[in-house]
Amino acid sequence: MGEWLIGIYVFVLAMLLGFELITRVPPTLHTPLMSGANAISGITLIGALLVAGGEGGGLAAVLGGVAVAMAAINVVGGFLVTDRMLRMFRKD
């Protein structure tokens, strides 16, 4: 089985897992959930690090550097603001 096909397996199963995990979330949490999920999509930062710091340099490294900054905004800001929201939720 090729690497690409394994990737497809991971993708499809992760989508199904995502549907399962999110469907039962109460509406109260939808905003923090969207914001938290958004922060997770900043995982592309990993890719950005590999491209920005990898061998070869040049144009790819510069594009990677911009990607690092953009993804870091997504990750840091996303997790922090989600925490700021969730910190306010309290039970009676």
Binding site: G18, L29, H30, L33, G56, M85
Partner: protein, 460 residues
């Protein structure tokens, strides 16, 4: 660090992401879930930085420092009412980053030996989806923030232009896959996709922006997944797909709450937005006006009260006044609940965040399905800054909001509507609730009215 160790680190990170997302689904564990997801991210970042593949540090350090500072500042300073915009901005950056990663990896190493055309296709998909997510998110941000007109902007030959653009994107993607001119082909594809993102979001009305942001959130997840394919990194594929699925589900929920199909949101150019004029001049039909004193008496001697907050409450920054009123009523032994319509704020669950900010406990907030059977047993309902979501016309098949889920406020014993005037809501139609015998209109600013009610109830 040996290759397989990093692979194991990525696996651990993937597992933590799944548990984090799961814990985000319950109010009790949500904060821990977010922290878990954040530590999964940190683990993956540290693992990657220790990887032998990274040889230069200057660019990485600069990018990380700049991004961290900007993200930190935005997260710290944003107002809770502006949350939809901020999620839009973060999302735009994430999508843009994925597009850049896909392009940069292609430029750096070309398609992998074993993948060939497949790598080109996923790179094209990553650049396309990421760029659309980037430009679309910033237009959505502009609309919510008021930099771009909120009304649907339509232009002549819209469909023809979109069709041409779509075909050009196909050609550009084909060129990227077939040719070895990666820098030029990537730039062309990205340029066209950025234009597509702008043109797709401009014709959508400001009130529909949360749906757009939710959908673009899903896109940026998928873009991260595509970047993962290009890099051959399963962690990106997995995490991106999780977010893609989450975004799709939230988008569907929102569409359902507004009783619209996604296609209708995307192409409907629905609603004149805030410009819709008053259909009914005040006084044409008799309404029962009330005063703060009278309403306060009614509330003070009720045994059960339900408050229906709309976005008008948040605009008036009246959450804190509402909380004060609730505290005073509860001290008198009155049962008080908040009825939350799924689209009460500017994104799903937004009202819950806004009330949480005012220190209202979340177990006082009741969802549509759970509160509707209770209205018939409720003494007084207070509607603040909400209109369409309590409009009984939604039950009439001929109405334009027919079938939209509404809060059955008209079935309760008494209704107090706090509103500035009789002007219609977003849908631009009149609301028969206002003319019922048991409805009293309190024409006032939301904060003034709730503050006044709190004072008067205290003195009863």
């Amino acid at each position: 660090m040996p290759e397989f160790v990093l692979d194991l680190v990525y696996l651990a990170s993937a597992v933590l992401f799944v548990f984090g997302l799961k814990q985000l689904g319950s109010p009790v564990t949500a904060r821990r879930g977010n922290a878990l997801a954040a530590s999964a991210m940190l683990l993956a970042i540290v693992g990657t930085l220790l990887d032998r593949g990274i040889v230069t540090w200057e660019i990485i350090a600069t990018g990380l420092v700049a991004g961290t500072i900007i993200g930190l500042l935005l997260a710290r300073t944003v107002k809770m009412t502006a949350m939809p915009q901020l999620v839009g901005v973060f999302n735009g950056f994430g999508g843009g980053a994925s597009a850049l990663v896909a392009a940069a990896e292609l430029i750096r190493s070309g398609p992998g030996v074993d993948a060939g055309a497949a790598a080109g296709v996923t790179a094209a998909a990553g650049i396309l989806v990421g760029s659309v997510s980037f430009s679309g998110s910033f237009i959505a941000f502009g609309k919510l923030q008021g930099f771009v007109p909120g009304r649907p902007l339509t232009y002549p030959l819209q469909r023809t232009l979109n069709l041409i653009l779509f075909l050009s994107l196909l050609v550009a993607s084909g060129y990227l896959v077939a040719s070895a001119e990666y820098p030029i082909a990537s730039a062309m594809l990205a340029g066209l996709a950025l234009l597509l993102g702008i043109l797709l979001v401009l014709p959508i009305g400001g009130a529909d922006m949360p749906v757009v942001i939710s959908l673009l959130n899903s896109y940026s997840g998928l873009a991260a997944s595509a970047a993962g394919f290009v890099l051959g990194n399963p962690l990106l594929v997995l995490a991106g797909a999780l977010v893609g699925a989450a975004g799709l589900i939230l988008t569907r929920l929102m569409c359902k709450a507004m009783n619209r199909s996604l296609a209708n949101v995307a192409f409907g150019a629905f609603g004149g937005g805030e410009t819709a004029g008053a259909l009914t001049e005040e006084g044409e039909k008799p309404v029962r006006r009330t005063s703060v004193d009278e309403a306060a008496l009614l509330l003070a001697y009720a045994s059960s009260v339900v408050i229906v907050p709309g976005y008008g409450l948040a605009v008036a920054q009246a959450q804190h006044e509402a909380k004060k009123l609730v505290d005073i009523l509860r001290k008198r032994g009155v049962t008080v609940k908040f009825a939350i319509h799924p689209v009460a704020g500017r994104m799903p669950g937004h009202m819950n965040v806004l009330l949480a900010e005012a220190d209202v406990p979340y177990d006082l907030l009741v969802d549509l399905d759970d509160i509707n059977p209770e209205f018939a047993r409720t003494d007084v309902v207070v509607v603040v800054g909400a209109n369409d979501v309590v409009n009984p016309l939604a039950r009439e098949p001929s109405s334009i909001i027919a079938g939209m889920p509404i809060l059955d406020v008209d079935r309760s014993q008494n209704v107090i509507v706090i509103k500035r005037s009789l002007s219609p809501g977003f849908a631009g139609i009149d609301n028969p609730l206002f003319y019922l015998d048991r409805t009293m209109m309190l024409f006032s600013d939301a904060a003034d009215a709730l503050g006044g009610l709190a004072r008067e109830v205290k003195e009863v």
